[in-house]
């Protein structure tokens, strides 16, 4: 249903996402999990046809998102991250407007049905400007569902809601997922685990992992962090290791000459590391592994998220 290949987007010369490749089947709820600034919104926007990628391709329901943009847009429902609504319209007027732009047949009936579906029954004449955040989110969802799309793209649908509202919206989405393909982005691990059939983890614009929540848990739990100490300055050592072709994250360790490396699971890079360091004429003082849990990874992810928010 959704087929993404080599998707890359540059803002100026800053790569927001790089080489994303993934698929989603009919009826699947696919989670797009990553910290703030990972590239989630960028990906969602490209998939929804709002902006073109720098390179790579997206096919939705068999149509190319660039070449057959209108066909794609007819088939998707999209809930952007900050739900765009017109405050001066009532819920009913808004849905009527969005529905008529999408040329929905029997629009009045559809509006009734969709208002029911998202539990807005008693509020349909309320002005959107007066609604709480939770209710607005539901109006946003109603808008995305009005034309009964085959594919739903939801960008952080629970962000900014209070815990009770979050539970409601999650249950709503789970109910929707039985009939259509849903791509949902989130920075909350438990949300992805709870709602999604499959999860893609992205960080800094790159895919880090892709699996079912259950497999991911066990797989990442087995992944290791490697600690290396050599007779060198930390900075030099980091630079040296970063020249290796394998994908890994290298950060400075606690003492001078020490670095911590997280590599992709499944590949033991310790022999390669040892050779690299010795070849560079350095003495290898220490090389050991420590376990890392899914929670630990996400602690890191949320920490970098907090930092980003502080900078804004």
């Amino acid at each position: 249903m959704i087929k993404v290949e080599g998707l890359t987007k540059f803002y100026g010369d800053f790569p927001a996402i790089q080489d994303l490749t993934f698929n989603a089947k009919r009826g699947e709820i696919l989670g797009f999990l990553g910290p703030n600034a990972a590239g989630k919104t960028t990906t969602m926007r490209i998939l929804a046809g709002y902006m073109p990628p720098s390179s790579g391709s997206v096919r939705i329901a068999g149509f190319d998102v660039l070449e057959e943009s209108l066909e794609v847009r007819r088939r998707i429902g999209y809930l952007p991250e900050t739900v765009p609504l017109y405050p001066e319209m009532s819920i009913w007027e808004y849905l009527e407007y969005m529905g008529s732009l999408r040329k929905v047949d029997n629009l009045d009936k559809r509006i009734d049905a969709v208002i029911d579906e998202v539990n807005l029954g008693d509020r349909e004449r309320s002005y959107i400007g007066n609604l709480s955040k939770g209710l607005r989110q539901r109006v946003g969802l109603a808008q995305a569902l009005i034309h009964q799309p085959e594919v739903l793209i939801l960008d952080e649908p629970t962000i900014g809601l209070d815990p009770a509202q979050i539970i409601e919206v999650r249950e709503l989405i789970q109910g929707l997922g039985q009939e259509r393909t849903i791509l949902l982005s989130t920075h909350i691990l438990t949300e992805a685990q709870q709602i999604c059939d499959r999860v893609i983890i992205i960080n800094k614009g790159r895919m880090v992992a892709e699996d079912t929540p259950e497999n991911l848990q066990s797989q990442i739990a087995g992944a290791t962090k490697i600690i290396v100490r050599a007779s060198s300055e930390t900075r030099e050592l980091v630079e040296l290791i970063e020249t290796m072709p394998q994908k890994m994250d290298v950060i400075a360790g606690d003492s001078e000459g020490e670095v911590m490396i997280s590599a992709a699971p499944g590949l033991d890079i310790r022999p390669l590391l040892a050779r690299k360091i010795l070849d560079a004429g350095l003495d290898l003082l220490e090389l050991r592994t420590t376990g890392i849990s899914l929670e630990e990874i996400f602690l890191q992810l949320t920490q970098s998220e907090d930092k980003d928010e502080g900078e804004e």
Partner: protein, 243 residues
């Protein structure tokens, strides 16, 4: 094409709850009404009212220079500010349909206001004998229709450039004043002033249409301005997606 009308309809209705649009209409009717009644008052005292239905038109044109930016400033800037453009452009709406729909909605609203100002010539017509020259009046109003359409299209285009209505207002106003003043430069002779008067917004109006002369060239001028502006607005929105 249906999409254009759906967008235009929403925009048109929105003007009836928009403070800017209310201010503009109240301003237009207060000023025009004032000018009109002063004219009638002195006309009656002098014992004669000129049988000319256009006494409110030139103040109206002046007001329009200031009113147009207020009407068009938020058309596309607000959609970009609120992010609603993201939903419009991810639904099966083409960018030109959005731009033309917005412009059409604003034009519809201003035509309504223009229609109401027709009251003044009707009153004059009743008060004078043998009445006013309807041909001249119709040409003058036809000219206004074309001129207003072009002004609103320019405003729509400028609005596409911004995420905020305020700069859109000032840039549109500046452009309107420029296109107006440039006509003053056209009063001399020589190529430069000829070009100036050809570009001028008001020269095309006052030289012919206002006098009751319907010249195809003038209509083509306003129509070209309209089409070019709407085209540019479409291009701007298109290019902003690629960033």
């Amino acid at each position: 094409m249906r999409t254009v009308f759906i967008i235009a309809k929403r925009e048109f209705r929105l003007f009836f709850v928009s403070p800017a649009a209310y201010s503009v209409s109240v301003m237009i009717f207060l000023i025009l009404g004032g000018i009109f009644f002063i004219n009638i008052y002195f006309g009656l005292r002098g014992g004669q009212i000129a049988p000319d239905g256009r006494m409110v038109i030139s103040p109206l044109v002046t007001i329009l220079l200031f009113a147009t930016p207020a009407i068009t400033m938020r058309l596309l800037a607000d959609e970009q500010r609120m992010g609603t453009i993201e939903l419009l452009l991810t639904s099966p709406v083409r960018i030109w349909e959005l731009v033309v729909g917005k412009w059409l909605g604003a034009t519809g609203f201003m035509m309504l206001i223009l229609g109401v100002t027709w009251i003044y010539p009707i009153i004059i017509h009743r008060m004078t004998n043998p009445g006013i020259d309807q041909g001249v009046l119709i040409a003058a109003y036809l000219g206004l229709v074309f001129m207003i359409s072009a002004m609103l299209a320019i405003g729509t285009f400028i609005s596409s450039l911004f995420n905020n209505p305020i700069p859109a207002f000032f840039i549109t106003l500046t452009l309107m004043l420029f296109l107006w003043i440039i006509g003053g430069l056209g009063s001399g002779s020589g190529t430069a002033s000829e070009i100036a008067s050809n570009l001028s917004f008001v020269a095309h109006y006052y030289d012919n249409l206002y006098r009751g002369v319907i010249d195809l060239g003038d209509l083509v001028y306003y129509m070209s301005l309209t089409i070019i502006s709407l085209f540019l607005g479409t291009q701007v929105l298109e290019s902003r997606r690629w960033r």
